[in-house]
Symmetry: C2
Subunit: 315 residues, 2 copies
Amino acid sequence: MPTPAPDLVSDLASITFASPGQRLDRAYARRPEMAQLATLPETRTVALSEGRIAVALDADKRLCRWHRSRLAGLDPIETVFLGLEDESPLLATDLGPLTEEQAQALLGEHVKFIDLRSISPELSALDAEIAATARALLGWHARHRFCSVCGAPSGIEDGGWRRRCPACGATHFPRVDPVVIMLVTREDHVLIGRQKGWPPGLHSLLAGYIEPGETPEDAVRREVMEEAGVPIGRVDYLASQPWPFPSTLMIGYRAEALDWPLLVDPVELEGAEWVSRAEMARVLAGDHERLASPRRDAIARSMLAAWVTGEVAGF
Amino acid sequence: MPTPAPDLVSDLASITFASPGQRLDRAYARRPEMAQLATLPETRTVALSEGRIAVALDADKRLCRWHRSRLAGLDPIETVFLGLEDESPLLATDLGPLTEEQAQALLGEHVKFIDLRSISPELSALDAEIAATARALLGWHARHRFCSVCGAPSGIEDGGWRRRCPACGATHFPRVDPVVIMLVTREDHVLIGRQKGWPPGLHSLLAGYIEPGETPEDAVRREVMEEAGVPIGRVDYLASQPWPFPSTLMIGYRAEALDWPLLVDPVELEGAEWVSRAEMARVLAGDHERLASPRRDAIARSMLAAWVTGEVAGF
């Protein structure tokens, strides 16, 4: 049985949020400069409004980097320091809700605030990382303006990478919630399922949050048993992907199913089924009469595609 | 070059919090019964006080499972549902600070509240998982009694696996903070470092929190560059370990160093150095004049031991 590629993230180029290419220089030592940088008209920033990000919709889709001076007259909710780009600081600004007039003044003909999920497959690796980091970090601030220890309003520190409570002194750091996602296989078949409310036909790999006190490997076994009633043997790591909705880290494993029968938990899943490799190839090609594939930028699709092509072996 | 074992967690038995053996049945569907179970005198619970856990210090070190009736007259801060053990519910109770009289009445001659770090290597795999889950979950409640969205007091739900704010309706889930820890090697040498305030001589593998918007592999490269100035090539997954201080998930990778020179960040590290395999064998054996090894129950030590013995190859 072939061994999976050692750093699969670099090989599964279709994982937009973790694809090979230029990385953001996070320049953590520069984070304390954020407050001052935000006052300089020439400092560049990406901009979000209600979770959507400003994108130039030219042939090359590209995140807008606006000078802070362009935001004059607006009242941003939060600003954070993302890092350096071409050695210049890059911020992310949450503009909050905008009136139609404000949005029109800000946006050009080919510039729009876009849901990251609908644009990320078309962004460069660097822009996808910048957008994911900005969305996850600003989304964390939006839900953490008060101290969870004592209830007092907390304040931003370290360029947005920490909050501190002036009342009790507690510090708070951005959340990243680890999730396991698993390619469960048995004799040339893969286990897929669907949740209620998903688009028609959509099926994907099973996934679930890692709980306190357990390893990812144990979480794989627990989740597959809870959701589908399938006992799992070996579990191997494949690849990971940050997924900023709101701020998860998808950690991908392949897992050996020890038996066929499915016992689906109707609370967790609307359904689950075994699909052959040939059938899954048709699903990924958009050529299946009943089943639809995960999004192009989801690690689930990359894992399925790697298994269909044989890049990753099943069990 | 040999490939690392596919599910190394099962092979590195010295990782207490992730060692092979019986697992806790988390029985998530039973979690809503917690409030009622806590009122029954015969319901069993593990007990914590100020982060320490009650352990019977007999020849076999074992977490105490007390009947709730034993806690009569005390005023527990929080109770959570851990799962089923021999098909019976098991809770975890945070007793908060106890007076000397209260502690004496509760504890026997061989029973003490112990810091988990000083006892975990001697616990069974199941007890270590129970203790880690209890400590991480109760510690999360202690720091999250108020809603981070609006500042109002929040309440416990789902047996302690969720909090809800009655004022704004927001739900909050326990944190698990993913951390990368890396076996950085080059030509039969491994990179170790030490932080300020560590016990004398102690050196360990470099580690750091994964940030929003990045993969673990990118976090490995970023942290090694930030802390030691060493460029990294390939990065492969090895194994993971939950570490409930307060609630992290250590995700272990091996990483290929592309160069020797070290440029240590004095804010992050007190020092870092390359150590040969033969020298590291002496460190792990407690037989080195200057360097001391990580704790027996830390994944860092398991990763170093696996490299020293050749179970895991370096680069």
